[in-house]
């Protein structure tokens, strides 16, 4: 108990230091000239209505590529750690609740649709590839919960995942080859608020959305299999 208090005090001291430090600086003041530049130049330079998306995908697109890779790496890591060989992938069937089953059937297409909508309109409305992808993955999660025999076709999901990533890289490389700078805007900006606007953002977000969705579904598949496959193993 004393230890807990001591460490609590320690952590409070650390937080206090950060708080004191933060208290010296004000957010949103003119110091943030980079942010101001983004606000001023988003529309002429990118043609995207959503400034956040223009920052994440255009100005700091390289970071986002990294974030996509982070997820990719995490999915691979999970796949490695939960790997149990193809032959062990037998699953035990377990009846789930009627309401869940029917509910899932109804909701699942809508979830996919919403996800697709979110990542396709990333440059216009809040949200984007990550959010849409996560939503899609929740749909698959629901599927797993309702139908125990669900098993996604990994090959196809890998294909989607890889293609999503490649889309990003190839669009970036197009910029590199055509304009000498990675992720340079090679597509026309279009008219503001149009679906087909925002230059390279739309295709990239579509790729990212699909990629994130399939990656997270893969992770879910790995984890679910970990639960179910071992149960199956125990029965044999």
């Amino acid at each position: 108990m004393i230890r807990k208090i001591v460490y609590g005090v320690f952590i409070l001291i650390i937080i206090a230091a950060i708080a004191i430090f933060m208290s010296n600086y004000k957010f949103g003041v003119d110091k943030m000239d980079v942010g101001k530049y983004y606000l001023d130049n988003t529309v002429p330079q990118t043609g995207a209505a959503n400034v956040v998306t223009s920052v994440t995908l255009f100005y700091r697109g390289f970071d986002t590529l990294g974030e996509v890779t982070v997820l990719f790496t995490a999915a691979l890591g999970v796949a490695v750690l939960y790997f149990m060989g193809e032959n062990k992938r037998k699953q035990k069937l377990q009846e789930s609740n009627f309401v869940t089953k029917i509910g899932t059937r109804v909701v699942f297409p809508f979830i996919l649709l919403t996800g697709a909508y979110i990542f396709m309109h990333g440059h216009l409305t809040p949200g984007g590839g990550f959010q849409g992808g996560a939503l899609i993955a929740t749909g698959f999660l629901l599927l797993y919960l309702a139908y125990e025999e669900t098993s996604i076709d990994r090959k196809k999901f890998y294909l989607v995942e890889g293609l999503g990533g490649l889309t990003y890289v190839i669009i970036g490389l197009l910029g590199f080859f055509m304009k000498g700078s990675f992720l340079a805007n090679v597509l026309p900006n279009g008219t503001l608020f149009d679906l087909l606007s925002g230059g390279i953002m739309l295709p990239i977000y579509i790729g990212v959305g699909l990629k994130v969705g399939s990656e997270l579904s893969n992770i879910i598949d790995d984890l679910m299999c970990e639960v179910k496959c071992e149960e199956a193993g125990g029965e044999e």
Partner: protein
């Protein structure tokens, strides 16, 4: 032809590489290759006979040129060491006869010779250090090819070598930092004006490194086991070459780089010598007395030699640190002489082990008829070790004794003389237990070592005799070396020394003749008096029993047991024990420190939190105070 110093240094290495490649063809090809490259250095060295060369640049490090050079002292020693390397190599061929390691051993051997030349030729503190470390590294690997315990010896040796190396490295870097140069001359120039603490600290750091290699007393712990367990040819190298390299560096640093004048300037003089030299004299004397006495009670032939080697380097240190022309001449001469006679002893013992397979004295005996050449070589060598004319050990010890008398140090003289007597005790033990007495039955079939193996012993025996009767030959080199070190060289003649201040006239042939005369008279009495008659060893009785061949009637175990009883109380606080306790202490402490890595995640995270908290506190308190 003109051979550069770098070429001399590279010759053996090149030969070794060639020999290693040649070993793929045939062993004979390999051996011949390598022998040629071991003989070449003599010719290459020839042109440097009367030259002092400085600053042959060969590498640039940290903006400084590293240079090689040669002087009278290093010329003398490189000649001597080339000879010993050549002989040890011949010996090694037989020793590693059956072993698969021989090719690799030759390669290491060649690098060792190159590195030894490197130390001798080095003209700056970095090059000597580099070559010195290479020597340690190669010796480490060579030791491991020896007897059962050799692997422990390896570890002990390298621990000490590393301590020495790092101590020297500290001094090297420190001096470079202060003086801005590595060259001996520049360092010497800097030291003459440097503050006293810097001079003392760097001197002590260097000397620790040298004395570890020279196995001087408190730093000798690695030596007995290493000398005893290393392969015999490597023991020769350790005792006759590597140890002398340490003493060579000691000489160069004390007299040429630091200089006695510097010491006299910064510290009081005791008995004509600066205080630090006086301390070193005592260290040398302690090494003599303890080394000798421990050698007396050893049961292992090579251990006796090891301790004897320690004791003899005590003589050298004592002579050198007297700092008078006489003492230094004695020390330098003893370096040469000891290399020769200890070489013989190791070769002979190695030969005995080669034939009998044991180095345990109590299992040996009576080999005199089986191995007469070895016996004669050893006889000469032990006479030299005990310091009796007409062998070479006498002259150098004589010089050291005279130098002690000249410096009016009766106590040290007593110790040195006592050591002389003690050395007679252990060398007698050696020859008695191996060659005299009863021949154990299992060694009936033992033969003399092969002729090629006799060559090393015989060559060195002849040299020992020659240098003993005509001390003028080594003195020619020694006096030049002394002149290089800045002393008035002592006068000498081919056969001895003329009367000069501090030294009584000595004419070795006459003394030898007198001694021989006495010997002849004794022999005449022994053989001519009618009572003597020659009987077989077993023509004897023992407590009423008839002796048979399988009864061991002469004792060789616990030979000096009375003596053992005397020194036993001192064993309680031997230096080894102090070190063992120290190591135990360090291990315990280290083990506690190691526990900081508990393997427990909670500990680690809380450590991180604590450190972060400390920085937060620094920030908060600093902010408030600011």
């Amino acid at each position: 032809m003109n051979f550069s110093l770098l070429m001399i240094l590279l010759t053996p290495i090149f030969g070794g590489l060639l020999a290693y490649a040649g070993s793929a063809l045939h062993k004979a090809v390999r051996n011949i290759f390598f022998l040629i490259f071991l003989i070449l250095p003599f010719f290459e060295l020839y042109q440097y006979a009367n030259k002092t060369i400085d600053n042959f640049y060969y590498l640039t490090v940290l903006g400084q040129s590293l240079s090689l050079g040669i002087n009278a002292l290093s010329f003398m020693l490189s000649l001597l060491f080339s000879l010993i390397f050549l002989l040890a190599y011949i010996f090694l061929l037989f020793e590693f006869d059956k072993s698969e390691d021989s090719d690799l051993a030759i390669l290491e051997f060649s690098f060792l010779e190159g590195a030894v030349f490197g130390v001798l030729f080095a003209r700056d503190i970095l090059s000597f250090f580099i070559f010195f470390e290479i020597i340690a590294l190669i010796i480490f690997f060579l030791i491991g090819k020896g007897y059962e315990e050799s692997h422990n010896a390896q570890l002990k040796y390298i621990t000490w070598a590393l301590i020495g190396a790092n101590s020297m490295l500290a001094a090297v870097v420190f001096l470079f930092f202060k003086a801005g140069s590595f060259g001996y001359a520049e360092i010497s120039g800097y030291l003459s004006t440097a503050p006293t603490p810097i001079v003392l600290i760097t001197f002590v750091l260097f000397v620790i490194g040298f004395l570890i290699e020279a196995s001087i007393m408190p730093l000798h712990v690695w030596a007995p086991i290493t000398y005893a367990e290393a392969p015999d040819s490597v023991s020769v190298l350790l005792s006759s070459v590597v140890k002398k390299v340490g003493l060579y560096l000691f000489t160069i640093f004390v007299f040429s780089i630091f200089g006695l004048n510097l010491f006299s300037k910064i510290m009081p003089r005791v008995f004509e010598a600066p205080l630090i030299m006086y301390v070193l004299q005592w260290i040398g004397a302690l090494t003599i007395i303890i080394g000798t006495f421990v050698a007396i009670v050893q049961e292992d032939a090579k251990k006796i030699l090891a301790w004897s080697s320690i004791a003899q380097s005590g003589y050298i240190l004592l002579g050198l640190s007297l700092g008078t022309p006489l003492g230094v001449a004695g020390g330098l001469l003893h370096i040469v002489n000891h290399s020769i006679f200890k070489g013989i002893l190791f070769f002979v013992v190695g030969g005995v082990i080669y034939r009998t397979g044991t180095k345990n004295l109590s299992e040996l005996g009576g080999l005199i008829k089986k191995m007469p050449i070895s016996f004669i070589s050893m006889l000469l060598a032990i006479i030299a070790t005990a310091g009796i004319p007409p062998l070479n050990g006498f002259v150098s010890k004589y010089l050291i004794y005279e130098a002690l008398i000249q410096n009016k140090e009766p106590l040290l003289l007593t110790i040195a003389l006592l050591g002389g007597t003690g050395s007679f005790m252990y060398v007698y033990r050696l020859i008695h237990s191996i060659f005299l007495g009863q021949l154990p039955k299992k060694y009936e079939g033992v033969k003399e070592v092969p002729i090629l193996m006799q060559v090393p012993m015989l060559v060195l025996s002849l040299l020992a005799l020659l240098f003993g009767v005509l001390p003028g030959i080594p003195m020619y080199f020694v006096s030049k070396a002394e002149a290089f070190l800045g002393f008035d060289p002592i006068k000498y003649t081919l056969t001895g020394f003329p009367e000069q201040p501090g030294l009584h006239a000595l004419n070795v042939p006459i003394i030898s003749a007198a001694l021989m005369g006495g010997f002849v008279v004794a022999a005449l009495i022994f053989y001519l008096l009618p009572k003597t008659r020659s009987v077989h060893q077993l023509d004897n009785y023992y407590a009423g029993e008839i002796l048979t061949e399988d009864v061991k009637y002469n004792y060789s175990f616990g030979f000096y047991s009375f003596f053992d009883d005397i020194i036993k109380p001192f064993n309680e606080w031997s230096i080894d024990r102090i070190y063992e306790n120290f190591v135990g202490f360090v291990k315990t402490v280290g083990d506690y420190i190691r526990r900081i890595y508990t393997g427990n995640l909670e500990t680690y995270v809380s450590l991180g939190i604590i450190i972060l908290t400390i920085f937060s506190l620094i920030y908060i308190i600093g902010g408030v105070l600011w």
